[in-house]
């Protein structure tokens, strides 16, 4: 088999862009194999005609599938640029003309303590050293980058003892300091996104008012941030998302801002909502603007032994689905084809995943319970990320089909909350949930409004409807940020609360030790 790459990028059309939050564990395999025979030949699946490099979806010639977009975080990166060039060559040595990487500044990992930071002397030399390293890494690595925000959860009772932050205002003040530092020291190789946080509308509004100057050319000239990143309530509470966008429209801060990133959402319905919003922004405000969103679910799922099986696109279920992957030593050397469809999966047999046979010793010289070696995790990540991209694109395609069919026949004013008994009684389509179709009409009308008041009134009128669209998570929430919660998840509606690079995650810690 020597099939050309399956290129998923053209299927993006004018859809909001899903950015796989690429795990450093995954990129390391691609990078190390370029330098040495890190994975021995007999361990590489026989179907891998282009070897490990075929797993590199940023490589338009060699990838088994290719997709030009990704997110990579400074929070788990090799910040020493000399080392990063080799160790993260999947990212650093990509063709910059045919790929796009959004760099995350690693605020999450700093808040969690994964990335060491001198919280006691926030403006001191040690802290500045970290800031500068992150800034230089982002300038060298990413096309677009997020400024180093201090998320609002950094002041909650769990994180406050470490960060010393007590209030949202503390987080905002520290973020302002970081923003100033980044803009003053920016080099011009990457474009910057101004990060918006907040628990609710009031705190999100305070945050916005506190940081909007960093996007204002009247204040910062050509150093002003070129885009926005929506975090906290801005990225998952639809009424707040829309009010924020309208506010940006009215403040003139979407003109010339060509990228808006939504931090961490794996929900297929949001990929549709964001596409519909993007179209209205392009139509009415800035035809160059792109909306993206990221999640690390394909990578996190793998760390917990889950495989993407299929995705459900029906009105009853609209989500990617993952199940416990086969892990059994009886399947070692098995030539049974890997049963789940992807450009990675179709090149594998079960023996490629279930590598260890009974009696085989792992890299630390012990016989473990699992049949998976660490490379099996990388293979599964490749399969999972393909499935996630395709599931998102299929959702967006189906949405467009149903919108074309129902054009002019749906008025959001007739949306109503259904009782459990009435569930399914107001569907227009066999495929696409009604909320997406109603939202299409709503958002079209919303961006026709001529004033902030008119738009806000419309959003308030539709509050019950918009509340039902709420995203699955607020970033960094305390209760959900537990390993056990994720471990039991069968269906991804949630994403990167547990970061695969988090050394506190026992599964990943074990993986890192073995590589």
């Amino acid at each position: 088999m020597n099939n050309p790459p399956v290129n998923l990028t053209p299927l993006q059309r004018d859809y909001a862009v899903y950015l796989p939050a690429i795990s450093s564990f995954y990129s390391t395999y691609v990078a190390k194999q370029r330098l040495e025979k890190f994975v021995p030949k007999h361990r590489i699946p026989q179907g891998f005609d282009r070897g490990i490099e075929g797993m590199n979806f940023l490589n338009p010639e060699q990838g088994y599938f290719t997709y030009k977009y990704g997110l990579y975080s400074a929070g788990h990166a090799q910040l020493d640029l000399q080392k990063s060039i080799d160790q993260e060559s999947m990212i650093q040595q990509r063709d910059r003309n045919s790929t796009m990487i959004l760099g995350d500044s690693g605020g999450y990992q700093i808040g969690k303590g994964v990335l060491k930071f001198d919280w006691k002397n926030f403006e001191g030399a040690e802290a500045n050293k970290v800031r500068q390293k992150i800034l230089e890494w982002l300038e060298a690595t990413a096309d677009w980058s997020m400024m180093l925000d201090v998320p609002t959860w950094a002041c909650d009772h769990v994180h406050s003892p470490k960060t010393g932050l007590k209030t949202v205002q503390d987080c905002l003040d520290k973020t302002r300091f970081n923003n100033e530092y980044f803009l003053k020291n920016r080099l011009g190789y990457t474009k910057w996104l101004n990060v918006l946080q907040g628990w609710d509308w009031d705190s999100a509004e305070d945050w916005y008012n506190g940081v909007k100057e960093f996007s204002d050319p009247a204040v910062w000239g050509d150093k002003a941030a070129e885009g926005w990143a929506f975090g906290g309530a801005n990225m998952c509470k639809m009424d707040i998302t829309l009010k924020r966008l309208i506010t940006l429209r009215e403040d003139g801060l979407l003109k010339g801002k060509n990228w808006i990133h939504f931090l961490g959402t794996a929900q297929l319905d949001w990929s549709c909502y964001l596409t519909l919003i993007q179209r209205q922004l392009r139509k009415h405000i800035n035809e160059e603007i792109t909306i993206s969103f990221d999640c690390a679910s394909p990578f996190i799922a793998t760390a917990h032994g889950l495989v993407y099986t299929n995705a459900q696109h029906t009105t009853k279920r609209w989500s990617v689905i993952m199940d416990k992957a086969p892990d059994n030593k009886a399947l070692a050397r098995s030539d049974i084809p890997f049963p789940f469809e992807s450009e990675i999966g179709r090149r594998m047999v079960m023996g490629d995943i279930c590598w260890y046979a009974p009696g085989d010793l792992n890299k630390i010289g012990k016989e473990g319970k699992t049949s998976w070696d660490s490379f099996a995790y990388a293979l599964m990540m490749g399969h999972n990320v393909y499935c996630h991209i395709v599931a998102v694109q299929r959702a967006q395609q189906l949405m467009d089909i149903e919108i074309a069919k129902t054009k002019g026949k749906i008025n959001w004013q007739f949306w109503r909350k259904l009782s459990p008994k009435e569930a399914g009684s107001d569907e227009y389509s066999d495929w696409v949930p009604r909320n997406i179709l109603y939202f299409s009409d709503f958002v079209e009308q919303l961006f026709e409004t001529k004033s902030k008041k008119e738009a806000f009134d419309m959003i308030d009128r539709a509050r019950t409807f918009l509340d039902t669209l709420e995203g699955a998570r607020l970033q960094g929430g305390v209760a959900r940020n537990t390993f056990n919660t994720i471990f039991t998840v069968e269906e991804v509606t949630d994403s990167s609360e547990v970061n695969l690079e988090d050394t506190e995650d026992p599964v990943y810690a074990k993986l890192r030790e073995s590589i």
């Binding site: 002019g408 026949k409 749906i410 008025n411 004013q413 007739f414 009435e422 009684s425 107001d426």
Partner: protein, 185 residues
């Protein structure tokens, strides 16, 4: 086939106001139905006829889709899968004790299709008294209370004898339409 009637809570107050505000802001879309159409009835309601094309297409679609769904799940009648061409907007005023005595809905003689289902949607903005809707079953009127709730859509076979009792207080507003299919056999 077991005929019956089915109701569905279709609209909330805000949506009722949206529909009525839209219609009342464009009086030119309404044609008053002549009282002569009902020579046998003395106090028949004030009826306005509206073309479906002049109504909000989202509303028409929702109305039609719901009726077809009710048919699919409960009646199984052979209907043309069309949206209705027109609607009647009925205002029953208590001052004139408007009512609509027992009658059935049918197509004109020799028509190539038959009216099979009648759909009535309560669009009353405010509470009213009287105006109970009844269907005659075994020569006994059976009051269907549920249609008195604003926003409720009632669907029943058009050949059922049905009536609206006089309204004694307030204004009862309903919108009705009829769904056709091939001739009864």
């Amino acid at each position: 086939m077991k005929y019956k009637w089915y109701w569905y809570n279709l609209l909330d107050t805000q949506q009722i106001n949206f529909v009525l505000d839209d219609i009342e802001s464009r009086p030119e879309i309404c044609t008053k139905e002549p009282k002569e159409n009902h020579p046998d009835f003395k106090n028949v309601s004030d009826v306005k006829q509206i073309k479906a094309l002049d109504l909000d297409s989202g509303f028409v679609s929702l109305f039609a889709r719901t009726v077809h769904k009710i048919n699919r799940e409960n009646f199984g009648l052979d209907l043309y899968y069309d949206e209705p061409q027109g609607f009647n907007l009925n205002y029953y005023h208590s001052e004139s004790k408007d009512d609509y005595p027992f009658h059935l809905d049918s197509s004109k003689p020799n028509s190539m299709s038959d009216i099979k289902l009648t759909a009535v949607l309560n669009l009353s903005r405010r509470p009213y008294e009287g105006g109970n809707f009844s269907i005659a079953l075994s020569n006994q009127p059976h009051i269907i209370e549920e249609i008195n709730n604003p926003g409720t859509l009632l669907v029943f076979p058009s050949f059922y004898l049905h009536e609206v009792a006089p309204v004694t207080k307030g204004v009862r507003i309903t919108m009705s339409s009829w769904f056709q299919g091939p001739n009864w056999k």
